[in-house]
Structure formats: structure tokens, C-alpha cells
Symmetry: C2
Subunit: 104 residues, 2 copies
Amino acid sequence: MYIAMNRFRVKTGSEPDFEAVWLNREVHITKEEGFVEFRLLRGPQHEDHTLYVSHTVWASEQHFVAWTKSQAFRDAHKDAGQNKPLYLGPPHFEGFAVIQTVTP
Amino acid sequence: MYIAMNRFRVKTGSEPDFEAVWLNREVHITKEEGFVEFRLLRGPQHEDHTLYVSHTVWASEQHFVAWTKSQAFRDAHKDAGQNKPLYLGPPHFEGFAVIQTVTP
């Protein structure tokens, strides 16, 4: 299991616009092999921004990498530049291997 | 849904010790009301440390807060100070509200 996260520093006041971009987009990723789950997370507020994290769970890192090389990935990100005014700087990517899972 | 994450900067070379602490601990959190899932995540390597994230999903922020005030929480963290030599600085907490979930 692998979790791909992108950290977005969204300018204070732009939070509703940022959330609308995500909530109103067409979602194609569900058809990808190895896709497990996507979540959009709203984190702490800071003086000039709110931290958001896009959080995608994949069956393996290999599935994630295959997706980043696909046409579906290019299609999903082709308009991302239009949202730059909402952010302080570019998103910061962090990929994680799941090394322990505990469930009830 | 609410996700509580703690970010640990584990000194290079201490990763096996850090993972052993987590993998060998007694787990009591599964009995807590509102507990959904715990995952330990290993993230990117940097020059002097590896980023790890403890990732706990709760039914709501209120359930998380109630747990932090419980005896079970105090018991789970009473020995945490012993692991300080493994880290660069204290863990950094970030709490997230889940604002969108997409599943296959």
C-alpha cells in the first residue's frame, strides 16, 4: 500500500475557490488499476494560508508511478496552472509506504 | 471523518529502531470510540533524516479530542520521551478534516 500526498498552501480567503475546484472536477482516477481511495483534506490555518492535502491511496507505488505516466494523468492536470493564483508557491509532493495498518 | 497525523523526522540510521518501537508496541487504541484506522507511513529520505508519519483516522475530530483526554492516551504516551534520541526535534502535529472521499 502506498499513499501519495500533495500539500497545497492555499491563500487565506481563497479556500472556497480551492475547494470548489476539487469538488466540481470530473473524476477519472477511479478507473485506474491499483486505485484504492482519494481524499481531500483540510488542515491547519496559518497566518497567510490554509494547508490542504490531496491524499491518494494506491495498492502499490508501482501503480502510482504507472498512473503518473498515463494519458489520464495528463488530462487530469492539464488545467492545473489556472489555479496558481490560489496558492503560495507550488504544491509539495510526499510519497509514503504504509508499513503498519491497525484496524478495529 | 478526521485524520490526525504526527510527522517524525527520524535520524538517518535510526529508522530500524524507530520502526521497531511502533511495530512492537501494545496497541490499545482499537478499543476507543470513534477509532477507524491507524497507519504508520514511511516517507521521503532527506540528507539527515527520514520522514515518518503516524496517521490515525477518526470518525470525527470530537472523537480524537476525547481520546487525547483519556487515560488510554496518557498510557500510550508515557514512555515516548525514551525515544527522543531517534529524532531531530519533536514530532509535528497536523489535524485534517476530510472534505471529499472518492472510492472506486
